[in-house]
Point group: C2
Chain length 308, copies 2
Amino acid sequence: VIAVVCGGVGAARFLSGLLDVVEQSEVVAIVNTGDDLELYGLSISPDLDTIVYSLSGSSNAETGWGLSGETWAAMEALDRFGAPTWFRLGDRDLATHLYRTARLGEGATLSQVTAEIVSAFGLGLAVVPMSDDKVRTRVALASGEEVSFQEYFVKLAHAVRVTAVRFEGSAMAAPAPGVLEALGAAERVVIAPSNPVVSIGPVLSVPGVRDVLAARRATVSAVSPIVAGAALKGPADRLLEELGATASVGGVAKWLTGVAATLVVDRADEGRVGEVESEQMSCVVTDTVMRNRSVAARLAEVAIGGTP
Amino acid sequence: VIAVVCGGVGAARFLSGLLDVVEQSEVVAIVNTGDDLELYGLSISPDLDTIVYSLSGSSNAETGWGLSGETWAAMEALDRFGAPTWFRLGDRDLATHLYRTARLGEGATLSQVTAEIVSAFGLGLAVVPMSDDKVRTRVALASGEEVSFQEYFVKLAHAVRVTAVRFEGSAMAAPAPGVLEALGAAERVVIAPSNPVVSIGPVLSVPGVRDVLAARRATVSAVSPIVAGAALKGPADRLLEELGATASVGGVAKWLTGVAATLVVDRADEGRVGEVESEQMSCVVTDTVMRNRSVAARLAEVAIGGTP
């Protein structure tokens, strides 16, 4: 079994490559839920949905989130009420949230509902939320305000300075059933190329996760989401700088060295191998920019310990 | 001011006629919420929405409920999960429920949210839920099972025998702000041609409502939803029979005599005036089948005490 610690888009791409080299039944994705939100009474889990939509070939290539062939009738009708519509929910995407909300209301856990959604989308891998308990990433801004992750990421388009990030509820959260077991027993753990601060960070904040990874650090590898000093997507580079690290493979290594022994970096960072090694991580150089699925598959093979 | 005690479709038609003869600002509609339900975490108020959609010209003439030009992408996507979809929610209709649910979640009352929705649909009359507290119509079936109103009405298509109806929560429910005041102070109260058992019944079950109507009974009139022994729509005729009354204008009179002094019946029931009068109600005969708006307007005029 290969366990993958996941955020959203970058992790979904990595998983699509991994599933070309490993059977679905041998993959456990452990997914950030710090981005989750409640909106209009609905329970929304963006990273879980991104992975399911993406791996099932249902994701919207145009927007980079949500479902393909999406329509927006509900959102357009919400305009009538002057309701905030900065978090865009497509009509088909809404069905996922309605189903999740209904099942949670019936007493199902987030892991149970997620397994049902994974199966409804015809997938065979295990997709597990980091916790069935509520953990919410809160972002403190230079303005003094603290906002939810989605307010930071979507509403403010992450165009604001961040002074701190915390994971509300994580100290009291239990890892979801199977999380520590999978992370402990997997042949190999890969930390996906997701934002180390706000995508991987919440998973690591769940009690027990950091310890189980630290204890088996030698067979944990991470893929750097920073290439040549910049994030391929999102604010990972700025967040690392704002929180006192550097936006570089060295900064990523510093962030993850306690829980992973190997960092996979892009060829563009060949000259920065020393920065990684000085953080007590070994460094593997390969193509990490997953412009297509075969690059993703080769990257996955390297990350799980094959040869670059 | 004219106060109208309302269910859904029949009341909406009556109100559309009333608004042709009375200023919107002079009309208060007090609406049944016993049909309300929670579905997929959403708070749904079918009778309130039917009235707002209908009066604003937004209702779906094809289905008889929901919004015109409706699409069904969310419902179709729900099929994937094998979720129950017997209660059909259109994509645009969903927006109303999302907005209502969001506002209730923020602590707004159902009356406040309803006023916002009424205003968003450009209406000027007052539409007031009978209570801001949860009252739920429960229907006991001959099978021994007890179901929610919507299960009875939509899922079972009311094709089952009913042995009893009760209004769960009504004993503890407070009338919404303004309800008793409007019913007490209105120049005239009209009980709309809605199902007397399951549409008018819940409103009358809210503490204080029956008393305030009884005290001013002389200026309360009701329009019979039963014409020539049959309901124009829905199961009012069967419900009256099943609950020990007769499906006739006499049966309606018996049901409402405590709270209204006048029953307006259709010309088809001209021969049954005596049945009404023997229930201590005066009987007015006119056209009550609202096949178009001008019939509705003439009916409204009669109901508020004009000449037939």
